[in-house]
């Protein structure tokens, strides 16, 4: 069945009777939700949503896998990723060093599009599944090579318990604990 255009009449409502019944219906549905709000709000610092595995959160570098191809820096739409040259031990002669280039990232600009992760030929870059970290100054947001290899501290996880929002037919979203309670 191909798509088609369908002209529809606008539902008309009028008259005193419809006016009274519509007012009552609106009031009733308000009272219905007042009595049973079916809410799924997250009490934020005490609860936080645990995101799915494929979520595109902060990007972390696995230095061992990096082959210095610079594809990530070239695909980055906001020029947040840059290559720096650092000395690393020579693969065959340990006392010598060679210059090798690695990516560093500027989270002032990163837009979390994940192109760098997808273009990396060796899967040296990966996402962590959290995103809610804030900064009080701009300089912290430029990650040098050491910071880029560590997953960032996640203060929310220390304060709260993880919950998961499930899609539910009755409630829309339903808040369930992400993990079993310990002990």
């Amino acid at each position: 069945m191909p798509p088609k255009v369908a002209v529809k009449p606008l539902p008309k409502r009028g008259g005193l009777l419809a006016g009274v019944s519509d007012n009552l219906a609106a009031l009733m549905i308000g009272i219905k939700y007042f009595l049973n709000p079916k809410r799924f709000s997250i009490y934020y610092p005490k609860e936080y949503p645990e995101l799915r595995k494929g979520y595109r959160g902060f990007i972390i570098l696995n230095k061992q896998k990096c082959i210095s191809c610079a594809a990530c820096a070239r695909i980055c739409p906001s020029a947040a990723m840059k290559m720096i040259r650092v000395p690393v031990p020579h693969p065959k002669e340990p006392e010598k060093t060679v210059m090798k280039q690695f990516p560093v990232i500027n989270y002032q600009r990163c837009i979390f599009c994940g192109y760098c992760v997808d273009i990396c030929p060796t899967e040296a870059l990966y996402h962590v599944n959290y995103h809610d970290i804030v900064y009080e100054n701009l300089a912290e947001m430029f990650w040098d090579l050491d910071t880029f290899q560590k997953e960032p501290e996640y203060p929310t996880a220390e304060e709260g318990i993880p919950v998961r929002l499930m899609i539910h037919e009755e409630y829309g979203l339903l808040k369930v604990p992400a993990r079993e309670k310990q002990g």
Partner: protein
């Protein structure tokens, strides 16, 4: 009589006493609870939490205290373009006049605790209604004094709204007086007794009164003078800090005053408690019942925020003149019939 006695008698003179306790203390608490309920009930209907983290055990009631304190300590910006004295004076006078009706409303039938001398009590309804018509004038003044397109449009809208609701409010609150044949609030409450409440005997006037209160205190769906999408915050756009808090509080005080009047005129006042002798039985308990009924009315009006949007100005005026005014007149007619039948 010593000076101390004079001071004591002044302080314990019932109108001032009631004004201080109910006006500055009680009404402030009621306004806080009303705003809290408005936000919390709307949040429940809207499937979210509402104010919470300032005091999780009280359900976020302290957030309102925080708001009030924050306004109190915030900078008061007075733009160079405003008319200085009216700009400052309007919210203060508006607030003062909003709580003045507490000084004339009796909350018990025990004459020892009436705020006015018994001779004046004959006209207590008239006096209370007369005072309630004053505060909106200061809203208009504040709108004009702020000298900003939005405040001026807001002030004009307020004026339109006043014209339409004033008549309805007064007529619908007079309906019980017509039925009973007295302008004394105490008489009207006594006439209602335990069961013959006017909400049952005259639902038309009650509905009209509720609508009039919603209009006069710009509750939804009649929140037209402060309609955000066109006129930002209406007459209060330029106000900041404590002056804005006074303006905001004034509206809720007025709602509470009207709530008191409705609870007395339609909801049987202090019944089922029959006031007796002494402070507890004669004043505290009956007034508590009246206040609780008034709070229920206020909260019910606040709840409408979650259900309705706002009317357009001309639609609201149209509704007031074409629908609610006939309703009020029908209510008066009903009251006349009841008076003729001699129910009271």
């Amino acid at each position: 009589m010593s000076v101390l006695d004079t001071v004591a008698s002044l302080i314990f003179y019932p109108p001032i006493w009631q004004l201080l306790i109910l006006g500055f203390g009680g009404a402030l608490v009621v306004a806080m609870v009303a705003v809290w309920f408005e936000r919390k009930a709307a949040a429940r209907v809207q499937r979210r939490i509402g104010p919470y983290w300032a005091s999780p055990r009280l359900g976020g009631l302290m957030h309102l205290m925080a708001d009030m304190l924050r306004y109190a300590f915030q900078q008061v910006v007075i733009p160079r373009t405003v008319d200085f004295w009216p700009f400052i004076a309007a919210p203060i006078f508006g607030m003062a006049l909003s709580i003045l009706p507490f000084a004339v409303t009796p909350l018990t039938s025990n004459p020892n605790f009436w705020p006015l001398p018994p001779a004046l009590m004959e006209y207590s309804l008239l006096v209370a209604l007369a005072i309630t018509t004053l505060p909106p004038i200061f809203i208009i003044v504040s709108g004009w004094a702020a000298n900003n397109p939005f405040t001026i449009i807001g002030g004009v809208r307020e004026a339109f709204i006043i014209l339409s609701y004033e008549l309805i409010a007064i007529l619908s609150l007079f309906a019980p007086a017509v039925a009973v044949g007295s302008l004394n609030i105490v008489d009207i409450v006594q006439a209602q007794g335990l069961v013959k409440w006017f909400i049952v005997l005259n639902p038309l006037a009650f509905l009209a009164a509720i609508l009039a209160v919603a209009m006069s205190t710009s509750a939804f769906p009649f929140e037209i003078p402060e309609s955000e999408p066109e006129v930002v915050a209406g007459p209060f756009t330029e106000y900041s800090g404590i002056l804005y808090a006074l303006n905001m509080g004034g509206a809720y005080m007025r709602r509470f005053v009207f709530g008191l009047l409705i609870s007395l005129m339609f909801l049987g006042g202090w019944y089922p408690i029959v006031p007796g002798e002494g402070f507890i039985l004669g004043y505290a308990l009956p007034s508590l019942v009246v206040v609780v009924k008034a709070v229920v009315v206020v909260l019910a009006i606040s709840f409408l925020r979650a259900i309705y949007g706002r009317y357009r100005l001309d639609q609201a005026l149209d509704m007031a003149w074409r629908l609610v005014l006939p309703l009020t007149l029908a209510g008066i007619l009903l009251a006349l019939v009841e008076a003729y039948l001699g129910i009271f």
